[in-house]
Assembly symmetry: C2
Homo-oligomer: 344 residues x 2
């Protein structure tokens, strides 16, 4: 089954005009008489004519549509980001195409391919945990494709970048744990190739050093699938729980990991914060509803989406190639609740 829309040709035929006249009448050209304009406009409204964006895209090589590539839309951080993206895009007359890689490099490549071939005007990208080679993005970028890198930054790309101060977010969380009496602090991170992993890990380590606590690699666990499965975090935690000296706190360095960590503690009946204190990056609103309520590092996700989209639309609408790129760093928020309460 196919679906036939009304075209400019239908109007032209019905009214005994040429397609050019109809087109110009619809675009209110000075070359067309008032009479004819009204005739066309009225008939167009009557039969509910809508210009075909596909045809326009083909001709104009632009579509007033931007693309988004994230790892998972079910992730609270990203769905909030998407809401920010859409709020700006829609207010400026742009549509948004959303795709998710589910942390698969292959799917990220095919999503980029899909978007780029669809005449989108630009793209907001946060890479998957599997992505170590950026050629699928850099190649497009070199050929003039507008890209803004956000959250999980593509370091070698020369374009606008928007992220949070991952280092400070992790430093603050770790320092908070230390000040509350925790000493053997483990850290769960996502795949080592992600910019957020490197920066958050560095913040954690610096905090320990500043407070004269030895950084112990036994307390570092890398979840190379970014916590896409619970089992991954379960295994990491099982290992951590057997370490000597016994850990007394865990800092989980991403949204997904924090969620799985909470689940682990619940299932294993590990008391928080008595047995281990917990704090993690998370934008899940739910975390405050847990018992104990979870301390978190929260990112301004909606704002990040807005800022990144504004930069992208600036690039798109700029007449000359943009060469002066912004490197926006937003602030995280440390929300202290009960899961990291002072140690007795």
């Amino acid at each position: 089954m196919k679906f036939e829309a009304v075209t400019i040709k239908d109007i032209a035929k019905a009214l005994g005009l040429s397609t050019s006249t109809v087109s110009r009448a619809l675009r209110d050209s000075y070359e067309i008489s008032e009479e004819t304009k009204q005739l066309v406009l009225n008939y167009a409204k009557e039969i509910n004519y809508r210009p075909n964006p596909i045809a326009l895209s083909l001709k104009e090589k632009r579509s007033r549509t931007i693309g988004v590539v994230v790892s998972e839309i079910a992730n609270s951080f990203f769905s909030q980001t998407i809401n920010g993206i859409e709020s700006i895009a829609h207010s400026k007359g742009y549509n948004v195409m959303i795709t998710q890689s589910l942390e698969s490099y292959e799917r990220e490549v095919s999503n980029m391919q899909f978007l780029s071939s669809r005449s989108i005007d630009g793209c907001l990208v946060s890479v998957s945990v599997e992505t170590e080679n950026y050629d699928h993005i850099l190649d497009l970028h070199k050929r003039g494709f507008n890209i803004v890198s956000f959250d999980r930054i593509i370091e070698p790309i020369e374009t606008h970048k928007v992220k949070v101060d991952n280092f400070k977010g992790a430093y603050d969380a770790t320092e908070h744990l230390i000040k509350n009496g925790y000493k053997n602090i483990a850290i769960l991170v996502s795949g080592a190739s992600l910019s957020i992993t490197k920066e958050r890990l560095a913040g954690y380590q610096k905090a320990l050093e500043d407070y004269n606590i030895k950084v112990n690699d036994k307390f570092l666990r890398v979840c190379s699938h970014a916590g896409m499965t619970y089992e991954e975090v379960e295994q990491a935690m099982n290992e951590l729980m057997t370490m000597k000296p016994r850990l007394d706190a865990v800092f989980s360095a991403s949204d997904k990991l924090t969620t799985s960590l909470v689940k682990y503690c619940k299932l294993k009946k590990i008391n928080i914060p008595e047995t281990i204190g917990v704090i993690g990056y998370s934008n899940v609103d739910f975390m405050e509803l847990l018992t104990p309520a979870l301390s978190v590092v929260r990112q301004p996700a909606f704002e990040m989406g807005r800022v990144a989209t504004e930069l992208l639309l600036n690039m798109i609408e700029s007449k000359r190639p943009v060469t002066d790129f912004e490197n926006i760093i937003l602030h995280t928020e440390l929300i202290v609740r009960d899961s990291s309460a002072k140690k007795k």
Copy 2:
């Protein structure tokens, strides 16, 4: 800035062939000699030629892309549904365009408009809570647009429909509360125009009747924004909590409402299940991590996405117009945890 891709014309020019020959060579036509085919194929690979789907869409009036309209992607139920949709679509070579209405009728209309004008081959729709007039969908459907209605069903449309047994899901939950000793059971529902609201409300009422409990309209609260803001649920609950006789349980009839209900109880320090028992429709994995763990009615969201997509692709790929429509009804799962424990 614009982005120029490689076209068939570039290949033709470089190789001294016509575009028709190149096109046929790429599609492995018998009319082209092996020699020429290899020449074209090799060069195409070398310069990384990709057919332009926009041009194909314009010509073929199909795009191997399907659209999705949901109310909110951050909603666990819908994000799981989308994963199901993508799993089938991608396995059959289709792409997916995701849009969210955020429960706004206006945005739903513009999303449908966006998708339909983009040569998508069909669309999966779950309507917004504000939607009372279906003309934006029915008009497209009449003109041959392939649509499958899922979850929040468009009742008057004659096409495939996929949902759960909302009546039974609500009946089971209510019956469970009754059997555990609750008598004054309130219900929170979304806007009255949604099919899921009507069916779940009916299930709740039938259960009460079957157990000789008078249905009390004071215990019914309609959240006309489907719980898009917490305040909406807060107000509904504030009203319910003052009712005489005092309610001793609440059944929340949708994902968003359940989440807000939990938050309300936490913030107001209402003991669950001692002060009020709680059960609700929810696909949030987190619900088991609460204290007390929340009893829920869970929908097979992923499966619903898969089934709906299979039906849609069948319609799309059918030679003749489909006239025999499926009305799939999946089963909900009652997951009993601590929030609805037997009353002492």
